[in-house]
Amino acid sequence: MKELVDYIVKGLVDSPDDVNVYEENAYGSTILEISVGGDDMGRVIGRRGQVINSIRTIVKAASTNSQERYTVELLES
């Protein structure tokens, strides 16, 4: 799942080299934390959060058949 988020975010930004996705496990749920270059924050959030929420929707769809639950967060830079 981390690879999916990493791929999508790198495809959206101007500076893919500054993209990192960290995986953190917390009580049966996995938190995927996205970090991007400061200038790319807006790209990943999107108008009214449309982009980041779309990423969450896809992650949710991709985890339908697994036991894992994922949360996607964007780290402030």
């Binding site: 999916l4 791929y7 959206l12 779309s54 990423i55 769809a61």
Partner: protein, 284 residues
């Protein structure tokens, strides 16, 4: 069902209130009736010119449920010339049925569908940088990382009669893909939205390609066109407008296009954002 009252026209300040009043009058629950919104009402300006909302509630016939099942089953067959009129029905329910038809055909138990002729993969250069080449690569990469096995191919639509444009279509096929279609195709739309953004960012220009999963879009289009025709027939018979349930833009577009050439009705959209819906009205 006994000889109890089966139809009730209720009016009130709002549609919701009118429905509630009507249900109370019939002593039925919401899923036991069909609801037609005859007039959405209007608040008017400062109470001047306000109009009550009017709804028509009709008790469901017991045989209705069976007919619905039948229709779902014949989903793979070509549409019959004239469909049996299923009687009064809840507009929302019909749209659910449309959804169900599409979903049913996705079920893994359905026989493998023959790949349409135009779905034969086009021979093209992977790295020619064209929208379709990049799109194909991006969609493949996304589904690979979603942990599902899929076959992703490229085709193009026929030339659009109005715009003369050809749109690239990325077909994704596999088993158990319904989570990626989602309710009314909204997950599919989300995937398409992100894939278009990535392709646009990669190429530095807007992307217009369409993604389809297991032929969902095509089936939904056909089901929506049938729904539009059935409802238009009803509008002509009764000479009052029918509002369909809220739909995304591409679905509303299909309703508008289907009924564009039809005599006796015209269509318009009302409501804002995700509540926007098509109204079919009798031509004046």
């Amino acid at each position: 069902m006994s000889q109890q009252k089966r139809k009730f026209e209720a009016r009130s300040a709002s549609v919701d209130e009118a429905i509630r009043a009507g249900l109370a009058a019939l002593d039925l629950k919401k899923d036991e009736v069909t609801i037609e919104i005859l007039d959405e009402g209007s608040r008017g300006l400062l109470g001047i010119g306000s109009r009550d909302a009017v709804v028509l509630l009709t008790a469901l016939e017991p045989e209705f449920a069976e007919e619905e099942v039948e229709e779902v089953e014949v989903v793979e067959e070509p549409a019959p010339e004239s469909e049996p009129e299923p009687g009064p029905e809840l507009v929302e329910e019909v749209a659910d049925e449309v959804e169900e038809e599409a979903e049913t055909a996705v079920a893994p138990s359905s026989p493998p569908q023959p790949v349409e002729e135009e779905a034969v993969p086009v021979d093209y250069q992977y790295d020619d940088g064209s929208e379709e080449a990049v799109a194909l690569e991006v969609v493949r990469a996304m589904f690979d990382r979603m942990g599902v096995e899929t076959t992703v191919t490229l085709r193009t639509t026929d030339v659009d009669e109005k715009t003369g444009k050809i749109t690239p279509v990325i077909d994704v096929r596999g088993s158990n893909l319904s989570p990626f279609i989602g309710q009314r195709g909204d997950t599919l739309s989300t995937i398409q939205y992100l894939a278009r953004l990535i392709v646009a960012n990669t190429r530095g220009t807007r992307a217009y390609f369409v993604i389809d999963i297991d032929g969902y879009r095509e089936r939904r289009e056909q089901a929506l066109a049938r729904l539009a025709e059935r409802m238009a027939g009803k509008v002509i018979d009764r000479q009052h407008p029918i509002s369909l349930e809220p739909m995304p833009p591409q679905d509303r577009r299909i309703i508008h296009i289907t009924l564009r050439e039809m005599d006796g009705v015209y269509t318009s959209s009302t409501g804002e954002g995700s509540r926007r819906k098509v109204q079919i009205l009798p031509a004046k």
